[in-house]
Assembly symmetry: D2
Homo-oligomer: 334 residues x 4
Amino acid sequence: MIIVFKPQAQKKDIQRVLDKVEKLGLQTHISQGENTLVVGLVGDTTRVDPKRIEVEESVERIMKVSEPYKLANRAFHPEDSVIDVSGVKVGSKELTLIAGPCSVESKEQLLEVAHRVKESGANLLRGGAYKPRTSPYSFQGMGSSALDLLVKAKEETGLPIVSELMSEKHIEEFNDKVDLVQIGARNMQNFDLLKEVGERIKKPVLLKRGLSNTYEEWLMSAEYIMAHGNPNVILCERGIRTFETYTRNTLDLQAIPVLKRLTHLPIIIDPSHAGGKWWLVEPMAKASVVAGCDGLMIEVHNDPESALCDGPQSLKPDRYDDLIKKIRKLEKAL
Amino acid sequence: MIIVFKPQAQKKDIQRVLDKVEKLGLQTHISQGENTLVVGLVGDTTRVDPKRIEVEESVERIMKVSEPYKLANRAFHPEDSVIDVSGVKVGSKELTLIAGPCSVESKEQLLEVAHRVKESGANLLRGGAYKPRTSPYSFQGMGSSALDLLVKAKEETGLPIVSELMSEKHIEEFNDKVDLVQIGARNMQNFDLLKEVGERIKKPVLLKRGLSNTYEEWLMSAEYIMAHGNPNVILCERGIRTFETYTRNTLDLQAIPVLKRLTHLPIIIDPSHAGGKWWLVEPMAKASVVAGCDGLMIEVHNDPESALCDGPQSLKPDRYDDLIKKIRKLEKAL
Amino acid sequence: MIIVFKPQAQKKDIQRVLDKVEKLGLQTHISQGENTLVVGLVGDTTRVDPKRIEVEESVERIMKVSEPYKLANRAFHPEDSVIDVSGVKVGSKELTLIAGPCSVESKEQLLEVAHRVKESGANLLRGGAYKPRTSPYSFQGMGSSALDLLVKAKEETGLPIVSELMSEKHIEEFNDKVDLVQIGARNMQNFDLLKEVGERIKKPVLLKRGLSNTYEEWLMSAEYIMAHGNPNVILCERGIRTFETYTRNTLDLQAIPVLKRLTHLPIIIDPSHAGGKWWLVEPMAKASVVAGCDGLMIEVHNDPESALCDGPQSLKPDRYDDLIKKIRKLEKAL
Amino acid sequence: MIIVFKPQAQKKDIQRVLDKVEKLGLQTHISQGENTLVVGLVGDTTRVDPKRIEVEESVERIMKVSEPYKLANRAFHPEDSVIDVSGVKVGSKELTLIAGPCSVESKEQLLEVAHRVKESGANLLRGGAYKPRTSPYSFQGMGSSALDLLVKAKEETGLPIVSELMSEKHIEEFNDKVDLVQIGARNMQNFDLLKEVGERIKKPVLLKRGLSNTYEEWLMSAEYIMAHGNPNVILCERGIRTFETYTRNTLDLQAIPVLKRLTHLPIIIDPSHAGGKWWLVEPMAKASVVAGCDGLMIEVHNDPESALCDGPQSLKPDRYDDLIKKIRKLEKAL
């Protein structure tokens, strides 16, 4: 962290700031320019809130030099992390393929989809039990019974299960039944949930990017989970909010190489939510794979026209099968 | 809601959609143009998820005509709602003035600020007990003991208390100690918390706008709380995220007249978080008042340079006093 | 400007960067931390493109300390600039009131509006001759004949004229007929036009903010005009593009106090284009005045229902008159 | 286009609107619901400005059904357009590879880069002669002499030339020397330039997307050029402005499949400007190709450390060569 003082800063005010910084456990390196005094801070700056220094009248601005996250930082953990989800190695050379319906609607629906995506090569089954819906009048998910159906589908297909946790009151249930616990985009900065997940969830966590959160904020949310005890975090880009309204969100594929540089955690892409239209899934899934993602999370429904949630962005099983075949060819070419 | 069919849509596919719509309890009005079939849906469309119709291949697009919220909608409740916060009438002709420190840090700090803002004319005292912080390494608030200090400050000054609820596990405590329960920007779409607040919080709720949420999404979150049993919702604009980084966020004052048209709920402005700089508070507070807001929420700290949180945006008590005097003059001119 | 080197940077690579910087005419101040070498650059950094240093492999990042604009910078010109527009002093204590139709449509329309806004207290008359329209099939303005009608209206009312210049081919015509030359939002970074305006326009310039441009980019565009010879620049905020679509754009009133701090140039607010709805104009105009703007630019039309352009955001003359009366009361209270 | 009237709309006001619409040459189809009157407009609605109807007090809202562009619309031109750029068929099965330095800096630089990218397989040479720079103090390009160097490079390598036109005063020069005339992102809504380019430029045009422009606005700008006489428009996505600041812009690859659906015009991706960092170019270029783009525009410099412009995002010739080899493999796999 670097402090730039105002040209007119008084000696005693500068000293006051330096004393404050030293109380926070940091050393200072002073560089006196013609008009400007610049002070570099040395030590563990992740624990220093820059606003506590910025507030001083003598300070012109504060600039961060190092990232404010540590556990998620590739600088301190150069090798890629491989996260084991009940035997599926996320972040390894093999692509992780998560597929399944947006929400679990019935035993028939779920089992049919589960069998079909398994045949196509998926290695994890997704299905929403508790659904975050913008309207209180929309279908809110089947809840607990959906988790039981997912367990049943896992028994039949062998596919480990991914589902979204929306409240700490379901933590026990998720620890029992779910293999990969998803934190949705709208809860990315629900810090109390992140702490609980860090402390109490015994399974790996899939952390979706918030709709308007920066890479740094996203990694800080991963850091919350990790600092509270759960090191097994997988990141998932699912589109960000921009001015463009033709698509549901704008998929940010630059996130893949950027995160590979900033962090050692695996990164999964969800092209279904990003575009909100099924015909965008194939080109964006292929693009994600060649850009270097560790996996894909794709919504598949046996009858999208009857889906209770997000039908327009769901692939039919045949189309999913076709997509995976195309992706296998690309993988060979890489 | 209006359905526009594709020019090439087949009769049987159109019929299938009309049947689906009628099963959802709506009537249809058909308008056949030269190339395009347009169907208007009549009935309670708030309970219909447009995606369930948009998913049909024969459908070109769906257009909403009426707003998807009802309880929060001014169309069904033309008079302004006045919300009683332990005697303070929010939404009445008198401006609601919420003031206090970002976070409670000590008894001395809180009592000093409380007395000072009371003298200046504030009618509600704010103070953070549980703090949503981007970094797990930043000060997270004093927690429960902060609420006790707030109760103490209320006893001394008579000012009812506003504090942010971040987790359902604190609901009882908030019901006991807090007069106005704040839901922060990052939890605006934490739907499980909204439901719990609707069902179990016995006090009015201050619902902040999410950093990148539209007016409609914001009102849908109010609708969640109301539909789950708590009609006493106050809205709070605190700046939205844009491309501009000089300020912390961009304060959207158009929200005031827009919300006055869309909803009967009161609207409060928080200029402290929007700009992130204390010198932006005065001009934006004055602007908010003449634009027609029902109140202001402003951070005041007796010693911003030592604040553990958000010092740069906090006013000193003298500046707050001066601001309120200026606002009183404006009120007279209106 | 400050250079932060990578921890692993080699001595010879660092030297190479220092040599490059010195060739650009700057002095260097070196500060060696435990792991990080930080170098402050002293001298006129406005002429140094930071990317030319950022490109070096040994460099971790570049941080700007001082603003990249000089002529527009308040630091070098502490007093407010007052710009004389044919006798109207923009930036003085008196509020500048620009009013008139979006586009000039006929002699009758223009003269009626001109007389009405003059009676209400407007001191400058706006009217579009050349119109920037998203669609090539929309009305593109009356062109040159509109300027003649504006001159006629000026003769009758004494109000100096404001109109938008879209192409360098009209520069002579604008120098002859127009008192304040507007550069529209979509041309804010049309750098060739800015240069021409700086060199050849003999009248003051009203520079609108681009739809997604930062304060700094906006001031850099003002700097273009000033550096090319025309120091008389007035800034105009007219709303920025965000994710919210209910309003045409989001009006950023924080721009007023921020620009007052960064620059000495006057700032005008255009609430008509920002919201796109006539009923947003009054509350936002009042808010702008108490936030400290130097003037207002408001669209007024005698018959908005027949307007060829932007009818929904135009005030009728009676409403404009009423608004100005309210603003006069606010001015007294300030 | 569909008009939804307010529930309380009076008969005479409705009639007034219907008369207005019919005067604009459109037919009306009336659909009377329980509370709401909905009127569909039939005819060529591209020439109707929706605001002219929205302005009426009796109107609740206007909804567009068909796109406002025609010449660029795939609905009226189902086959892909193939644009001939001096023999290079853009939009055909063969990928268009545009490469070269951000700005032309010297004969040696340009010729070296030109020969190298030609060897790697590029089929068009880019080079900036006139440069749009945020700061008036940055290098503004070599101007006319750069165009002469580009012609020289074309003679030596056979590669047709791409360069950015910033002002109508250079139109003759560009018609003489340049094969593909680029309109930059900041001029995407410089409507006077678009008209001139449509009327007077005899070569194909590469139209970059504005930093915060929607797909529809972009296609409307293409429509400007086409409606003014030049049908040979190629679109170029180069990143949009979002809240994320780690990258220069956010590359929107969903643009590829979306535009393939909306328009018949070819689409090129520029990953260099989008990310602003050379190491983002390879993954994004590969992603673009598998997502279905018609070509890539990539900045290549023989000595990025000495580049006068955009060095950090430039590839060295060896890296470009390596990238093209990888892309060839992907093409085979598709």
